[in-house]
């Protein structure tokens, strides 16, 4: 059983491993100039050095805090906005044009503006993350709530559901869509936290990557990026696990386990 799992993981990672081997081979025979793109071996050495020091850990935590705080705020406000849009036609009429108008705007374009308002540091980063998470949360929650079948709310009504409790029916029905929104927002939260740190911060993993790049320490830059990839991957897996547990009642639960 244990061996099966390991073999399975290896097979899934095979394309990545192959890519790494080809990259290393190209570097070793001199096809790639190490001054422009360091070899995987050099990056590994830098990574070991980074992990041995405490600097990377602190900076990752700072970035995680910024991404997490923005995501949490964006999720709470987005769920509320989506619910209100779905339940009130008047509210929807006011908010829909705003959502539609800002949907395709790259939120990172606003970072310099936030830096002007809130200065260099966490608040600017959190604001950028918050804005980026808000829309996917709003849109997905809205979808989930408006698609609640009439017979479900009618049944709840006929069984004596009180008005306040009715919102729980809508939110529960929207939960699969809320998790879809959360997963998208999670990705955005990393992108925005890191780009905001590159532009307007003195700390965080984004700033670290930026500094290494500025100083030409590309092996360390890639090592820092590798840390980001690792942390983001773990966060995504954790999100998937939480969502699978919360949605174990949903029709998709059986499929998700098979995939």
């Amino acid at each position: 059983m244990h061996h099966d799992l390991l073999a399975h993981a290896l097979i899934r990672a095979a394309p990545l491993l192959l890519f790494g081997i080809l990259w290393q081979a190209a570097s070793s025979v001199g096809l790639i100039n190490a001054a422009f793109l360091p070899s995987p071996a050099a990056i590994s050495v830098a990574l070991a050095d980074l992990l041995a020091g405490g600097e990377i850990g602190t900076n990752i935590f700072i970035t995680l805090f910024r991404a997490g705080a923005g995501l949490l705020l964006g999720a709470v406000c987005g769920i509320w906005l989506g619910l209100m849009m779905a339940r009130s036609l008047k509210f929807r009429a006011w908010v829909t044009p705003i959502v539609g108008g800002t949907y395709s705007l790259p939120k990172s374009a606003l970072i310099p503006l936030f830096a002007l308002w809130f200065g260099i540091g966490s608040i600017t980063a959190i604001c950028a993350v918050y804005l980026a998470c808000l829309l996917p949360m709003t849109v997905n929650t809205f979808q989930g709530v408006v698609s609640t079948p009439k017979v479900l709310t009618w049944s709840a009504d006929a069984l004596g559901t009180r008005k306040r409790q009715m919102l729980r029916i809508y939110l529960r029905h929207a939960l699969p869509d809320v998790f879809t929104g959360l997963r998208i927002a999670l990705g955005f939260s990393f992108v925005l936290a890191i780009s905001s740190e590159m532009i307007a911060s003195t700390s965080g993993i984004g700033k670290l990557v930026f500094l290494y790049g500025e100083n030409g320490a590309y092996d360390y830059m890639f090592a820092a990026i590798a840390c980001v990839i690792g942390v983001a991957f773990l966060c995504d897996r954790a999100m998937l696990a939480v969502s699978a547990w919360c949605l174990r009642w949903h029709e998709s639960a059986a499929d998700a386990r098979a995939a």
């Binding site: 009618w154 049944s155 006929a158 069984l159 004596g160 029916i169 939960l175 009642w249 639960a253 059986a254």
Partner: protein, 266 residues
């Protein structure tokens, strides 16, 4: 005491129209219907005639013109005295069988011990022991509909409103469910209003059958069914009395369906 004079449910000149992009569509027109306490009444008619609309209006889910009275009082919305079962089951997918059945009692603040007693009894009635902790997605259609019926019965409604309750089930399961419903009605003598497109089902279960015309729906013909329900299904199905009514109702529905067809033809 059952009130023998005042109907349990009464519809007076009920009309219902829906607003659509191409103007209002009249689904139900000037419907009068009185159902006595303990009566089982079925509404049959061609598809799209507004049968379900009638159930939704009596359920209090849709506002309509005219009056709907329950025990002589005009309804103002849904109420737990009118239990509803939909064709799509409409179970809460995030709750287990047990919590689905307990839901109504929970909303009414029934104490946990009493709630458990009722739920256990109903799980026994529908024969789903061992499935208490399953989610609806893990159940077959027949099992889901049993849970939906139990969930409704938990609130002890005096009236059952059934909207094509067995329409999504296969033929064998449907017959079993019909027998269970019949047994349940014989024991409890609740007032039942059922909508169905299955004429045989209507005759097998009801005291009275109302045939509805094509849209806008009106009740055009009425049939009384006098059968000894204590007899087994085979005996009832093979009896002349059963088949006579069945044929009459079938002809009446067919007439309405053909009328609708010719009206829709270019």
């Amino acid at each position: 005491m059952r009130d023998l004079i005042r109907p349990k449910i009464e519809l007076r000149q009920v009309s219902k129209s829906y607003a659509t992009d191409r103007g209002a569509i009249l689904a139900l027109r000037d419907t009068d219907l009185a159902i006595a306490d303990g009566e089982f009444v079925s509404i049959v008619g061609p598809s799209g005639c507004g049968k379900s609309t009638l159930i939704y209006v009596v359920g209090g889910f849709l506002p309509a013109e005219g009056e709907v009275l329950v025990d002589g009082r005009a309804i103002t919305g849904p109420g737990t005295e009118r239990g509803v079962v939909f064709q799509e089951y409409a179970l809460f997918p995030w709750f287990t069988v047990r919590r689905n059945i307990a839901y109504g009692l929970d909303q009414q603040g029934v104490p946990a011990a009493q709630r458990k007693e009722t739920v256990d009894r109903l799980i026994g009635v529908i024969g789903l022991q061992g499935f208490e902790d399953r989610f609806p997605r893990e159940l077959s259609g027949g099992m889901k509909q049993r849970v939906a019926i139990a969930r409704t019965l938990a609130c002890e409604p005096a009236i059952l409103l059934l909207d094509e309750p067995f329409g999504a089930l296969d033929a064998q399961t449907r017959e079993i469910m019909q027998d269970e419903l019949l047994r349940l009605w014989l024991e409890s003598r609740k007032t039942v209003l059922m909508v169905t497109h299955d004429v045989t089902e209507a005759v097998y279960l009801s005291n009275r059958i109302c045939v509805m015309s094509a849209r806008p729906g009106r009740l055009v013909e009425e049939f009384r069914v006098e059968l000894d329900r204590a007899k087994p299904r085979e005996e009832i199905f093979l009896s002349d009395a059963f088949n006579r009514v069945r044929n009459q109702v079938w002809l009446s529905v067919r007439k309405q369906a053909l009328a609708a067809e010719s009206r829709n033809a270019p």
